[in-house]
Point group: C7
Chain length 281, copies 7
């Protein structure tokens, strides 16, 4: 039996794998896994429960402790069975490269975090826009940044997004910004009159700056409407342009009603080609 | 014959490949594969069946045992035939790099798992939104996280997705969130009256917070309708905004009916250009 | 002539390339290629044909044998002509990196296969959904997994897809799942009555669970219709929701007919602006 | 002059670049390029032309010979001028990495070819579908696979596509497959009657299997039509479902005509809001 | 107890991990983290507050100091406990590769910054267009470039975008640029007359160059209109083509009104096929 | 002064950077750049102009000569100032990796070029389709392949595209190819009659093969039309299917006119819901 | 105090980091940064201003000088404090890999620039099309190429785009190119007559080549029109096909008017299903 157990399966460098060793290894590893799982459960359900720690945190601690036990255990088992870890050079190298690449995304975020701290393209309290997210920065940690939108939804954004993509920081400039609001009117209206009314509406809104003055552009001959753009400067409503738009639209709609300016429905020119004659016997 | 068998095909370092060795190798490998496949079958269909282990698990165990046998066997065969594994340095390096890159995705997930445990952007029990998935976290393992949606569908999400992309954790903030519900009315309605009704509906819904107060925005002069947005704050319905919307829409539709506010069909202005004269003989 | 033949073109390390050697190499390699192609043909068309092996398998064996002969032959030729392979260190390294990267995709699949076996996010017999594919797992091999859809189409999916992307395993949860079926009705209908009818239909279907109870949401003021969503829980029809939808739709259509609830065609409001006066002489 | 010629520009390791050497190099390289281009032309237009080799092949051979001459020549020139190649260690390493990465795509294809041969997800003669291509495999070479579609167009597909993406092999399963054909009818038809007719049509088609039986699903309340899906099982028409669909559609259209089942045009409900009064004087 | 403490878990090179050492490490690290967090808070809330430094900057400084303390502390702890850092060769290498790849994006930006400084494809004060952003460069730093749009929104763009993608620098050329403005007219108009009017409008605008002369192209037979393109050269309005377009459109609309040129609504030819006969008793 | 000049800024290995050396370097490099730019201009505008070489080629030669001078000069300057290049090991390695990766794309193309020459998926003179490009191969060089479309536009395609993506080589198969041409007819037509006419048209076209015979599929119940597909085999028109389609469409339109088969306009069913009563006094 | 200062925090190789050294380092680095920033300002605002150098260039020079000072200073500080740079081997390696990857994009462009110079797929003065850009090459530098479009907009394109993607060089072929112009006519027109008119128009245009002759294809039975394609060959208008199209369209529209060929509006067949009876009391 001893002979069977000491049959060498193969050997790298000075370590040899015998059948006996293989069996020892399998049993040790199985015990290690069962034991560390049992410790995790006791820790989560008994020990930590007493300290009234939140359930989520408890389980995180439990899993981390288990992982440490397993990894330390595996090394320990290999050590005691005389397996020279340096014999796994190639595999270790491969694992190293793999871990390195796996780390790529994460180190990118950490280093981006450092750059954010030093270069300060964004700071806590800034109003920023990145990708589709528009909100206030409330926390910058090493890996991620938390932004709260106007709707009070907090989004966790990986730091690398602030380094890799275009960022608008509304707090960086002098907070005098121009917004463009589209307005379409019927083809039968006089463009100059429309322009005059839009400018009057903009002038009466107290949240719109007088200098630089508001502006109206004739933008497009559209299918059913002449499209204008009302361009206004504001410093108060930089963070909530939709509220400013709403104010202007309420007023524009009222004035258009008074002045009989029509906002057209989709138009269609009809040519009745055939069948009409049937209508008249 | 012996001469033929000992013809050296080529040699790297100290190992030489003779024809005899080649034949030995091919036969050994064939036997190894057949044997390990036979063991797998016996294990799955006879041995493990007795212990009433589930079929899927049984087959997993079978395949793992087979793989271990094949890999150990291959090393063993090469050892006994005197093939020095270190002679395959270059190939091993290549394999190493290949395995390393193959591991990239997987280590990324494991390390992301560790970061999730330490940084806790998500915890078990949290309500989260990542990509298209919106649900409750029920399990965080080393490689993946399981999320259950409102429809009780459990989705297995690789951990790296929580590190690489934007994550909304509804349990992170103070659970007072604003939702935007669109409502369009006919061009002939009075915007102020519409606003008043929408705010009344919002006020009467008990799941909507009084502070911050609901809000109505005039959002767009659309083709056939004036588009408003009802913005309401809630803390109860953060997890199921569609139910809140449903409640509001039932009530808005009832009130609009009472107040004769029209939700318009698509409108069209028709200009009959030609053919009309045919209609009148 | 001998002089010409022994002109050294260049030498790396101890190997030199003479003109004579170059010619020898070219001739040997040509013979090697012709010979191995001839062996492949004999093997495929004569030898293997006798054993009634399927044509596709026969050709695979033929090509593999040919490749082995060519590679072994190339090494052998270089050996006999005294070309020290280690002299090609740089090229070998480059090839190594190239092969390593080429292996990337494949090792990723194999390691993903191992993780599938150990972590068991999917098992043989499970009902899964990954990307666009929805079906039963019938085979998990080292590199790929075979899934059979309801239409009995078997799709071979690389294992890495199960590790890199979101996977829904319908067999993982307690198989009580909610499905959403849209229903739109005319604007002139009473939403409460529609809700009542839809719930009655759901109640009468025996494959729909009583608890949790079915539910109707008012989802949208659409262009021509009020859109509702019927949300039902089922455990039987988890694998074929379209059949459940079909049953409900047959019944909803029948009930709507009885109750005179209209499912509207696209609506349009017409304003005849000009041309109408021509109609009346 | 000799002094000028032997001015050392710089030296790496033991090799020095003198002005004389630089001029020698430039002249040698120029001659080498001209000479090998001349040999290529003679070879393509004179020598190979006699053997009636196809023009495309001739030019390929010509270019390959030229490349071999240029590369061997460059090494030879450097050797004779005493430039120690090992002095370019760094550059060679860089080139090595570059070539390695350049090889990435190609080795991926070759190794994928090997995996195709061993794992046999596809074999010569199989009917397969990968990406947008649906056809019969007619050739599997080391780098690519040739597939012929029903339209007799042969597409050369890199082998890696069969390893990286989802593959459907129609020859793998038992060739009993279900196809889904959509049919829409008018809202005024009786769904049960439509179902009955569709099933009758399916029953009468001899290429459709009796078991499993055909099936009709009520799929959608569409804008202008009730949409049904006829689901039929077939083993004969697995390779050409469009022909089966054509047969069924011819028959369905005939039966619908007999039974007065209407396939609707797009419907529209019109509300004449204004302008109508002008029509009546 | 000492024995227990000195049980070696495993050893790499000369360092051994004993249980005692493990406990020491865990306690030291915990203290280190708590201490550095406490220092950060004191620094941010007490020390820096006195110097009236902005809150965002204060917190950045606080976090940086904390990070330095933690990293220095970790090294220091390992040193004092006799852990030879060089023993973590493989892990360090892996981390190195990971950090290297993480740096990839960032070094790319820094080196792109250097290239921008030397090659000067863009300079401070230039008017540039890259991707969707069109504005004036106001700052070029090592990592990013800040561009201010016409709407006074400052966008922070990573430098690599200017090296990797196509850049238009309006300040590079002689600032004589042609813009294309589309105009559609009714099918019943004379194309030559339309061309004449458009050219007259362009001639009368003083901001449009006389040489090269404006130009009108007949571009498309569209569904309802003949589409022309007015092509004008300008040097003044290079930065704000929409303002120039607005001027031209105001004038074109006025002239078209005077000349009775129609800009058509969408046209439709109607064939009444059936139902018309019902209209006539 | 000498002391100031010999202040060592720092030293790596044996080389030290003194202030004097730094100044020497800056002056040398400036002169080198000015000189080589001056040589380039003389070469392009004076020397090469005499030989009537094309302007583009002249400038390419000029830039290449300038680059060689600059690089050789830089090495030379460093040599003479005693800067040991090997001291820049790390930087050189980094540059090496950078260059290697930069080479990636290019070596990929060159090696793809070699594979094209050996495997011959495309040859000069072949008709090929790759991506959106459909044309004749007129030149295969080491890096790229030139294809001329039917419109005589020559497109330069990187060789790697032929290796990485699916390629259709029309010259590879027996040039008997099937094309699909769609034809839609009115719902009131008899499908069998339509099929008959289409087949007659196909039979009368002499460029369409008799065997395999043409074929008509009933493809779709479309909104306004029954859609058929005419499938014809041809060997003559493989390169210009649009010309064949044009011939068939001319004839189909003529035959449909003779046989009174209608190709329908978009259809619409109108339900006048309200407003109609206003039409009647 | 000295003792405190000389507490070793940790040591790698022979260098130790003491507290005193740390403080020295922090102070030195701070001074270095302040000093170099001050020098930059003086240089930009005082020294260079006198030489009337453009503001953008001045600032570039200022930033470059600052960077050189900072980097040289950092090395110098470390040298004087006895920090052996070689001790940062691992970090340097990581930085090296990072810089290498960062260089990837840039070296790719430079090497692509070299290939452009040697292979000359594009030359200065050529008319080229790459991606969306169509224009004349006016400058080829080492990293990028500048192209001027017909609208006189100069676009800076990274050189790698010319190597990685398909390039059309209009100057490469014999400048006889075919363009396709679409024309749609009413269903009631005779296709042969339309073809005749289109060919006459093409024949009368003097910029269109007689050989190869123009050509008309019947391309599509569209919803409302028969679509033809006029294919003409030209050598003059290769660079501005839109101008040629404009000429032809002016003429085609005139001829169609004369010959009463109709270009149709969108057509619609109307079936009045219900409501019509209400029209007739």
């Amino acid at each position: 039996f001893n002979d069977l157990m000491s049959v060498k399966l193969f050997s790298i460098g000075d370590s040899s794998l015998t059948i006996g060793l293989l069996i020892t290894l399998i049993i040790s590893v199985t015990i290690l896994f069962l034991l560390s799982e049992w410790i995790r459960r006791v820790l989560v359900n008994r020990v930590l429960k007493r300290y009234r720690i939140e359930r989520g945190t408890r389980q995180s601690v439990g899993i981390i402790v288990k992982y440490i036990l397993v990894i330390a255990g595996l090394f320990s088992i290999m050590q005691t069975n005389g397996i020279d870890l340096s014999a796994f050079g190639i595999l270790a190298g491969a694992l190293g490269v793999g871990i390195g690449f796996g780390l790529q995304n994460i180190t990118n975020n950490f280093i981006s975090g450092l750059i954010i701290l030093f270069e300060q393209p964004i700071k806590i309290g800034d109003r920023i826009e990145v990708g589709d997210i528009n909100g206030d920065v409330i926390k910058i940690s090493a890996r991620s940044t938390t932004v709260v939108t106007n709707d009070n939804i907090s989004v966790i954004i990986p730091n690398s997004q602030f380094i890799d993509s275009q960022v608008i920081n509304w707090s960086h400039n002098d907070r005098k910004v121009r917004f463009n609001f589209p307005v379409g009117v019927s083809y039968k209206e006089n463009p100059e009159k429309v322009k005059k009314i839009l400018l009057e509406v903009a002038d009466q809104n107290e949240h719109i700056l007088k200098t630089p003055a508001p502006d109206v552009l004739f933008d497009e001959f559209d299918d059913s409407s002449l499209n204008f753009i009302l361009r206004v400067w504001t410093s108060e409503y930089v963070n909530k342009p939709r509220v400013l738009k709403s104010q202007l639209y309420f007023e524009i709609f009222r004035r258009f009603g008074e002045e009989n300016i029509e906002i057209p429905f989709p138009q269609r020119d009809i040519h009745i080609i055939s069948g009409a004659e049937k209508l008249n016997n």
